[in-house]
């Protein structure tokens, strides 16, 4: 796994002063950030490896905040979005939240709340990101199991006894034990409890 990208607060606002002021506020709070003067500029620079969160003005010339949110959803981007708006536009806020916005703040913004919400968004992104990384690693490990090991793993993790597994699969109990050891090794699980947890994380379907 390569080194993770650092988390950045991406600020998109067409108003130069507001953009600059947000930048200074983030500076003061010690949060690294990058500013964009349009949604188009941000989207052009966007890549899936990017980390952090997005502070997004709703109404801008060119692509609007909501349009950018939609486009990011299409490419499965995981950046939490904090919308800021100068308009008390309730339907728009509802729509943004329904589409999974992290928050919707009205200008002028209470700075303490703003910074706090940004930190929360970054935390959320962080855990999402870790979860995704874990998920990816687990999936890679899972892929290394043979079909037989897979069958044994699913039964062990859902509490089926070795004897029952042997009977079900029509193999000897001894062979089940060998497969089980192999599964534990490949999935880096030291105890049965860890194996069960991995199974839950992977959200695999229960064996029939």
């Amino acid at each position: 796994m390569s080194d993770p990208e650092p988390q950045l607060v991406h600020v998109v606002d067409d108003d130069e002063a507001v953009r600059d002021a947000i930048g200074m506020l983030l500076d003061a709070a010690g949060l690294p950030h990058r500013c964009y003067d349009s949604a188009d500029e941000f989207f052009a620079a966007y890549g899936v490896e990017q980390r952090g969160c997005l502070v997004l003005d709703v109404r801008m010339p060119g692509m609007s905040g909501l349009e950018l949110q939609e486009k990011l959803r299409e490419v499965d981007a995981a950046l939490p979005i904090l919308f800021i708006t100068g308009h008390g536009d309730v339907p728009m806020a509802v729509e943004a939240m329904r589409r999974g916005a992290f928050d919707f703040l009205r200008k002028p913004i209470d700075e303490a709340t703003f910074v706090e919400r940004i930190r929360e968004a970054l935390d959320r992104e962080s855990s999402d990101w870790r979860y995704k990384v874990d998920q990816r690693e687990l999936n890679q490990r899972l892929a290394s199991l043979t079909e037989r090991e897979h069958e044994v793993f699913r039964r062990v993790a859902t509490g089926v006894a070795n004897k029952a597994i042997a009977a079900e699969l029509g193999i000897s109990e001894r062979t089940v034990e060998v497969h089980r050891a192999q599964v534990m090794k490949k999935l880096a699980a030291r105890t049965l409890a860890q194996l069960v947890r991995i199974h839950l994380l992977l959200e695999l379907p229960l064996p029939r």
């Binding site: 108003d15 002063a17 507001v18 600059d20 002021a21 947000i22 200074m24 506020l25 500076d27 003061a28 709070a29 109404r59 801008m60 010339p61 060119g62 609007s64 100068g86 308009h87 200008k107 002028p108 913004i109 700075e111 303490a112």
Partner: protein
């Protein structure tokens, strides 16, 4: 009388354009001799008259017979001659003017006078004279009933006649003003204007009257606005002029009322416009306020660090102050538009005018993601106008244009052009949109107050805009663009030209 001589007389009488007669001065003047001309004059033959089957008095118009009788009787009493004009009724019922001259030639034993004379047809002359008299009476009636002062003057400008309206307007009686120069009727400071105008209008002139406006001055030295025109009286050989003076006091008062109402309505429209723009305005003020608040908060943080970052704090404060001015400017612009103001014309730089109003209109443009493109010549001469009202017109037109572009589903970034060009002593302002254009069925309603095709809006904007441009001596015009959308335009006078 020798025969030959008699024949000559007969020939003479026959050829006379009229009728010779001899009669008795009795009721209806029985005639015993008439010449052949009688037939042409009254339609009766000689023998009918000479046999006294008909009497001359039967033809004489009943309205006039007493007058004729009076004249003839008086001549008979004096043994003298008489001359009279009167109407007769001819055999076919027509009325005819005749002129008669006669005298007493003898008296019968019983004292009745014998008259001889000549009667001739003057119908054409009489009609012409009557027409002339009627025309004169007609002209006099017009002069008498005119609301305008009608004054006639001679070549030197000395007043000769002064109608009733002139008496009422200036407070003079005709006899006390007669012979004075008509300059007396205007304020002293207009003497030279008036003299020049009189000089220019001495020649006979048939076109429409060209008047001048100045202050009249009445008997009590009170000044009042008047329009005055002079025209040479046609066919007056000795050079007579007629002067017409109209009192403009009422007109000026009415104009003032209209102007005040227009200004008031314009103000209402500006308030209404800004009301409609409230959302955009709030945004416009909210932006700097957001920045101000953030700069302040950042500044606090820099200050509260263990090692206060004074450089950063200074930067935050400087930027904060800038944004405070920005918010102030928005409010200032708004106030300019909403402050009730006495309409006044001044010399204005068109570039400044356009840039100022574009900023305000951009509030709206940003909401719809349209761009206002300003196209101006590098240098534009100053114009003479009421800047607030002209900006109001431009704002109205820009907002209408953008509204139409929205209705036409113009995409983000679509442009509306605000253009200023100049030439022919005018600066032309044009607003070119790419919206729906003006549909033929809306053209008649276009300038009608309260007739709006939009869902919201009072429908006052265009009516007021047109009235404002009209008050500036221009015309608000529009044309549909070949490529879609409409162009509204108007001209402003250059200052120094007014």
């Amino acid at each position: 009388m020798p025969d030959g001589e008699y024949d000559r007389l007969e020939t003479l009488l026959k050829n006379l354009p009229g009728m010779a007669y001899r009669c008795l001065n009795l009721k209806h003047w029985p005639m015993d001799f008439v010449s052949d001309g009688c037939y042409e004059l009254c339609g009766y033959h000689r023998h009918e008259i000479e046999s006294q089957q008909v009497l001359w008095g039967d033809f004489t118009h009943p309205d006039m017979i007493d007058e004729v009788d009076r004249v003839v009787r008086s001549a008979a009493d004096r043994q003298g001659a008489f001359e009279v004009e009167y109407r007769i009724i001819t055999r076919d019922g027509a009325e005819k003017w005749v002129w008669e001259r006669g005298r007493v030639v003898d008296y019968r034993e019983d004292g009745v006078a014998v008259l001889e004379g000549f009667i001739t047809d003057i119908n054409n002359r009489a009609l012409a004279e009557a027409a002339s008299r009627r025309a004169e009476a007609y002209a006099q009636a017009i002069v008498d009933t005119a609301i305008e002062a009608v004054i006639t003057v001679d070549e030197q400008g000395a007043m000769e006649s002064f109608n009733q309206a002139a008496c009422d307007m200036f407070g003079y009686r005709p006899e006390e003003i007669a012979g004075q120069h008509f300059r007396r009727l205007v304020g002293t400071r207009f003497y030279s204007d008036l003299d020049r105008y009189f000089q220019q209008n001495r020649a006979p002139f048939r076109g429409p009257p060209r008047g001048i406006e100045l202050d009249g001055c009445d008997r009590d030295n009170r000044y009042f606005p008047v329009a005055l025109s002079i025209r040479r009286i046609p066919e007056s050989e000795d050079g007579k002029y007629v002067i017409l003076i109209r009192d403009l006091t009422e007109q000026r008062r009415a104009e003032k009322v209209v102007r005040e109402q227009r200004d008031l309505l314009a103000h209402v429209d500006r308030l209404n416009t800004l009301g409609e723009m409230a959302a955009g305005m709030a945004h416009e003020i909210n932006q700097p306020l957001t920045a101000i608040s953030m700069y302040a908060q950042s500044g606090l943080q820099f200050l509260q660090r263990e090692q206060p970052d004074l450089e950063k704090l200074g930067e935050a404060l400087a930027k904060l102050s800038q944004q405070a001015h920005r918010a102030g400017a928005v409010i200032e612009r708004m106030q300019e538009m909403t402050r009730p103001h006495q309409s006044r014309r001044e010399s204005v730089d068109p570039a400044q005018l356009l840039c100022g109003i574009r900023e305000l209109a951009e509030v709206e443009a940003r909401l719809h993601k349209f761009a206002i493109q300003l196209r101006m010549a590098d240098t534009l001469p100053p114009v003479h106008c009421d800047p607030v009202q002209i900006q109001q017109v431009i704002l109205n037109l820009l907002r209408n244009g953008m509204e139409s572009m929205r209705a036409a589903n113009c995409g983000a970034g679509s442009r509306i052009v605000l253009e200023a060009t100049w030439g022919k002593r005018k600066v032309r302002i044009a607003i070119v949109d790419s919206g729906l254009g003006i549909r033929p069925e809306h053209q008649s309603l276009l300038y009608q107050p309260f007739a709006s095709t939009k869902e919201s809006g009072m429908g006052l904007g265009l009516a007021i805009s047109r009235s404002i441009i009209g008050a500036h001596g221009g015309r608000l015009e529009y044309v549909n663009n070949p490529g879609g959308g409409a162009t509204f335009s108007f001209d402003l006078d250059l200052s120094g030209d007014e």
